[in-house]
Each structure stands twice: as C-alpha cells, then as structure tokens.
Amino acid sequence: MMTVASNGKRKRVALVIGAGSVKCAAALGLWKALGRNGIELDMVVGCSGGSMYAAMMALGHDVETCERLTRQLWTREITAKRDFRSILGGFFPRIFGFDGNFATIHDARLNAALRGPFGTRRFEEAKIPLHIVATDFNNGQKVVISEGSIFDAVRGSVAIPYVWKPWRVGDRLLLDGCMSDPLPVDVAIREGAEIILAMGFDSPYPRRVKSASRYAFHVSSIYTNNLLRANYSFHNLAHHAEIIPILPEFSEQIGLFDTHKIPYVIEQGERATEVQIPYIHRMLDAVNV
C-alpha cells in the first residue's frame, strides 16, 4: 500500500544510483525492498554504471529481467577488442593521426550490448521519470539528460576515460558521468524530490597495477572517489532535502566485470535497504519534514 503523508500529499521520493559498475546492481535489491514495502519512486537518477540500472528500472523491467539484461550486456566480452587505431594515434599522433579523443578498447561490442535493452527506447517511454548524468568532454560540466535516446545517454554516461571513447550526442561529446558528479543527488533535489535514497559506491582500485590501462583506471578512481566525497558533502549541507544514504556492505571485492557476483550484490543492496525501511516510512508519514 502506498504511504501517504498525513497532509494528504505524498512526498516525492527519488532514487539516485551512483557510479560503481557491477556494484550498482545493489539498486535492484533496493528496488525489491521498496516494492515489498509499498514505497513508490517518483524519479530515478543514474550515473555511469548506475545509469544502466536506472534506465532499466524506469522502463518498467522487473528485477529478474534487469538482472538478466545486465548479465547479458556487461561482460568481459565488451572489453575484448582493443582500439589499436586509437592507441597508435595516441602515442604516435604524427604518423597515425589523433582525432581529439582516446580509448584503449574498441566500443563496437559495448554499443551492440547496450543496444539490446536500450536501442530504440526513449526517455519519454519511461514509466518513472528518468534522468541520466554524463560529463561534457569539452568543458567538463555535468550534463543531465532527461529526453531523447536512452541508448545515447547511457553510452555517454558509461564512457570510462581511457577505456572507451566519449560519445557524441548532438553538439556535445559525452564522457563518463562520474567525472563530474559520481552520485548526482543534486539532480533529484533540482527535480523536487523531498526524500532522496542515495546509493553510492567507491570506485574500485585494481588489485594490482600491472599495465598502463590499469594505471589510468587507478588514477581515475582516485579522482572520482575524492569528487564523490566533495560533492556528497556539499549537497548534504547545502540543501534541506532529506538524503538517506543506502550503502551496501561488501565483504568481498567486486571487480569491474564480476557479473557472477550480481546475486550477492543484489542481496546486499536489499539488506542495506531493509534496515532503512521503517525510517523511510516515518519520513513519508511525517508532516513538514
């Protein structure tokens, strides 16, 4: 049963799923827990890996379908083909040319995988209002996408620097959303959410830095994790919306493509959410909070 505040007006609840690759699957556990307890979402915001889950949830897929789609699209296979043209252009620009962006992995397989669930789908079809965050490569600013092609938005939002090339949408070149706002609670605040469920994750550091690409990924993680803290702190203190952090605990390391651990990740997300359910209900029932 839907919870309604005693003033008759239901508070607007947002779910914000931050960057975190496979760990973002914890949002499915959160969603299960909310559904079981009759708590509806008024908007979903996603960034980077979180954008895939936000989009699938907003499009109305059930948890089992979301899990299946993730296992199909987010596999090591999508990183199997090196982008030698880009790599050579990056290191020998005078010989091979450099077109202004760089990637070590060819994106054909990633694009094909993302076209599966999102190919022709548009924001306007979403059953829950959806917002996806990416970063404008040219000026570094956050870009919030709320209309148009979901595929384009997700592809831009997951464009991990040095791994995949940025993605052009109109006159913008979009890079991974985690480069500007790894846990975009501010988007939910701007859209009028009163209760914000914030599921954020530290970007993992490689177990061993044994290649240039891992070195680049490690450095990106350092940037991103510090940005996550700075942004999260600012938004907690600068706004009066109630931000409820839901932080699943993982006793084992979850790698970038550990999709076999998704059931465990979902379970931890569900567990972390269940702890907060009584409080979320009290917040929904409270007046003038």
Partner: protein, 114 residues
C-alpha cells in the same frame, strides 16, 4: 528508532550521549540540545555516538552546525565511539577530515587536556 539525548559534565568537558537515529525527524532536537550547551558556554563538547547506528543528511547538518558554533567560541566538538555504519557516512561526506573522532568517551575527553 526515537532519539534520546542526555548530558553529563566530566571535568570541564560536557559529554552528550545520543541514542537512536540522527535523521530528519530527530535532528532539530539534537541541534537544540547541543546548541543549548554552546549558548551556556559549555564549548568543550564530546558527542558519544555509541548508541547511534544511523545518520542522514539532517544529522550531518546538526553535527556541523554544532562544530561551527563551538569553534567560533574557542571550543571544539568531538565525536566518540562512532559506530561503523555512521562512520561510513561520515567518511563518505568528508566529515572525518574536519571532525576529530575518538574510539571512546574517555579518550575524547582526555584529548581536550592535550
């Protein structure tokens, strides 16, 4: 879980013990309780968080407001016995770099003598 706030004076330091959740429903009560100590000149404050398992954004604002008020008057606001769940939230929001945290109340109280 409802919140309870109690206080006791240990030497020149006021120890405020909080039990329950510090969130949007309880933060105003905590802010009021902590601010009353600052207003009365009790600006060496230790907040015993051993009984707090959760804090939301409203709780963080309450803690920061007290920290600013105490430091503006030449005192300090320090945390003791922060539980793992709360510590993760403090860490995520950068509070562990601006607030002093201690493992237990005695150590926190003793830190004011250093």
């Amino acid at each position: 879980m409802p919140m309870e706030v109690t206080a006791e004076l240990l030497g020149h330091t006021t120890v405020v013990r909080v039990v329950g959740s510090v969130d949007g429903l309880t933060a105003d009560t905590l802010t009021g309780a902590l601010q009353s100590h600052v207003d009365e000149g009790r600006i060496r404050l230790v907040c015993d968080l051993s009984g707090v398992e959760y804090t939301s954004s409203a709780g963080l604002r309450a803690l920061l407001g007290t920290l600013k008020a105490a430091r503006q008057q030449g005192g300090d606001f320090r945390l003791a016995a922060v539980q793992p769940g709360v510590h993760r939230i403090l860490e995520l929001s950068g509070f562990t770099s601006i607030l002093k945290l201690y493992g237990d109340v005695d150590t926190a109280v003793a830190s004011f003598a250093e």
